[in-house]
Amino acid sequence: MTIHTDDGLATYNFAYLDEQTKRMIRRAILKGIAIPGYQVPFASREMPMPYGWGTGGVQVTAAVIGPDDVLKVIDQGADDTTNAVSIRNFFAKVAEVETTTDTATASIIQTRHRIPEEKLKEGQILVYQVPIPEPLRFLEPRETETRKMHALSEYGLMHVKLYEDIAKNGHIATTYAYPVKVEGRYVMDPSPTPKFDNPKMHMSDALQLFGAGREKRIYAIPPHTDVVSLDFEDYPFEVQTFVEPCALCAAHGVYLDEVILDDKGGRMFVCSDTDHCEKRREGGHRGHLAGDARETAQ
């Protein structure tokens, strides 16, 4: 299946990548699923968007997407951030798939930095964009060495870092890209999602795929897999909590963005997951700063 662009000059294969490349990526994905949390090297392609801007996620999505899929793309939890828009438009153009902002109707959700608040279901695929897939990278810069550490399950160093956090601050000071152990074997970087989202990865009904384009790695968490955030028995893993509810939809227990309202210290907290927030408002929930939900384009 090929897609013709408006000007008729260039033609692209369905979902941009050629079938051979897709098969190569699918093999990497299957291997990743077979060995949860293990980083599978793959021959990442140059994509028409810059490295570091989601090329890994885009390649994974391109390899798994079919004409009947419904795609949602979020960045920072929001469907309308520029890079999310750009990636969504890319697939709308090169795969002509239906797109949505509704978490529940999406069959594939590509994300950067968040996991949707709404619980994901069986059959859904969550594709993460990963900048640095190696959880040990900042403890040991050498790929040759970190691969050995994974192979031999030498993860003492990871706990050394957490130990240092507690010794220095009285608590673990890692707030995002918080390392997890997958199915009791591989230590994995969940991508720079806030640790708030870590528990959502555990025993998820959805398939979770991770693509790092620049670093050329793919990894996966199959559905119903054990995902444990690293911690100490006496300093257990904890997620962020927010004192106030969302100023627009009054939700508690969700991740909030801080929005600066003026230059006098005025600020408000609103849902980072825009779809979740909108749905709640449609359902009649009102935060203290919600007016009538009119939206403007600027």
């Binding site: 490295y51 801007w53 040759t144 009285g170 000071a173 620049r214 980072s272 384009a297």
Partner: protein, 371 residues
């Protein structure tokens, strides 16, 4: 009342329109033609072809125009195009000994078969701005003479005949590595490493090559030979049972000759550093050759003491498309993570303040206790 920011789509559309407008510049000035770019900014095209890894001068010119002259952006455009191309196979190695040479110099011999040929070089120009170039002056036709069809012997072949320089090296495996089709793994074979260097960033390799000359892994290099010219690209078609010539490309080759003391494995002899790039780019080819030699430290049993010898460091950071993407991705929103850090810093500051207060409480309690 607060209205959530929306309008990413519109913002992007408007930005693209503005970009197109700025790219065109003042509409009263004629638009550049691709021929003009290809002909008159030929070395820019060469760099874009070389680091973009596609030998196509027209596409390079188009990319340069589209990128408003930003060469790394142009390289990126070409690379993104390149990945979509089907792969028919791999050409035979180009034979640079059979090159139709336009420039050929050796720093190791005063004269040699085939002679020294300066060719179109900046080398002995005085770098004085030339106001005449602001206009459209006629230039003289170049001096030319019949070539005598005898191939210009490579300096490395002259040395090799006497056994003074190591062999050209045999590929470590049957199949030539292809870093665009197989995942990169360290340690690398030299063939894959040379590929990475050839498409690596000119500025990065230049700086690394320079660092070896300044003592960070010194290799005592001599520019054995630099040659620029056209070579045939041949393709072996299994169905036909013979090779066919696909066309000619212009390349720059640099063979550095480096001193080597010998080791337990090899007698004292000269070693090679190799550079080969598309088009005319001596700076890049020479820097590449210096880096190649430095990166052979492990193979030659040399101590690894400097950045230029560190394969993982050099190869992981030499690709400017990767580098620019990741450096520039910092401008993407990171507010979810920043929020997490904000929360942590606030909390730690509060704890710090609480500790300080309780400390000063106990300080002020001291005199009482003493009384």
């Amino acid at each position: 009342m607060y209205v959530a920011v929306k309008g990413g789509e519109t913002a992007i559309r408007n930005a693209h329109r503005l970009l197109a407008n700025r790219r065109r510049g003042d509409p009263s000035v004629p638009s550049l033609t691709l021929e003009q770019i290809a002909e008159q900014l030929a070395l820019a095209c060469d760099r874009v072809m070389s680091e973009g890894s596609v030998y196509d001068r027209d596409l390079a010119a188009l990319a340069i125009k589209q990128a408003r002259g930003d060469l790394i952006e142009a390289i990126f455009l070409l690379r993104a195009y390149r990945t979509t191309l089907p792969r028919f196979g791999y050409s035979e190695p180009v034979d640079t000994a059979a090159m139709q040479v336009e420039r050929r110099i050796s720093a190791t011999y005063k004269d040699l078969p085939g002679g020294q040929m300066l060719g179109p070089t900046f080398d002995y120009t005085h770098r004085l701005l030339d106001p005449a170039l602001a206009g459209d002056e006629e230039v003289e036709a170049p001096e030319s003479h019949e070539s005598d069809e005898t191939p210009v012997v490579r300096v490395s072949d002259i040395l090799a005949r006497e056994g003074l320089i190591e062999n050209d090296g045999v590929s470590e495996s049957e199949e030539i590595g292809d870093l665009t089709r197989t995942p990169m793994e360290f340690p690398m074979n030299r063939d894959t490493r040379l590929q990475a260097l050839s498409r690596g960033d000119e500025g990065f390799l230049l700086a690394l090559g320079y660092s070896t000359q300044r003592g960070y892994a010194r290799s005592h290099p001599f520019a054995g030979e630099i040659r620029i010219g056209e070579v045939d690209v041949e393709f072996d078609v299994p169905e036909l049972g013979f090779t066919v010539t696909l066309g000619r490309i212009r390349v720059t080759e640099c063979q550095m000759v480096n001193q080597f003391q010998g080791s337990s494995k090899a007698p004292p002899q000269f070693t090679r550093g190799y550079g080969l790039v598309f088009g005319q780019s001596e700076r890049k080819a020479m820097a590449m050759a210096l880096c190649d030699r430095a990166l052979r430290a492990t193979e030659l049993g040399e101590d690894i003491v400097a950045a230029a010898q560190d394969e993982e460091f050099v190869i992981s950071h030499s690709d400017n498309v990767q580098a620019t993407g990741f450096v520039e991705h910092l401008k993407l929103p990171h507010y979810v993570d920043f929020q997490a850090e904000l929360d942590l810093v606030r909390r730690m500051r509060a704890e710090h303040a609480a500790r300080r207060d309780s400390d000063s409480d106990s300080d002020s309690a001291m005199p009482e206790a003493a009384e």
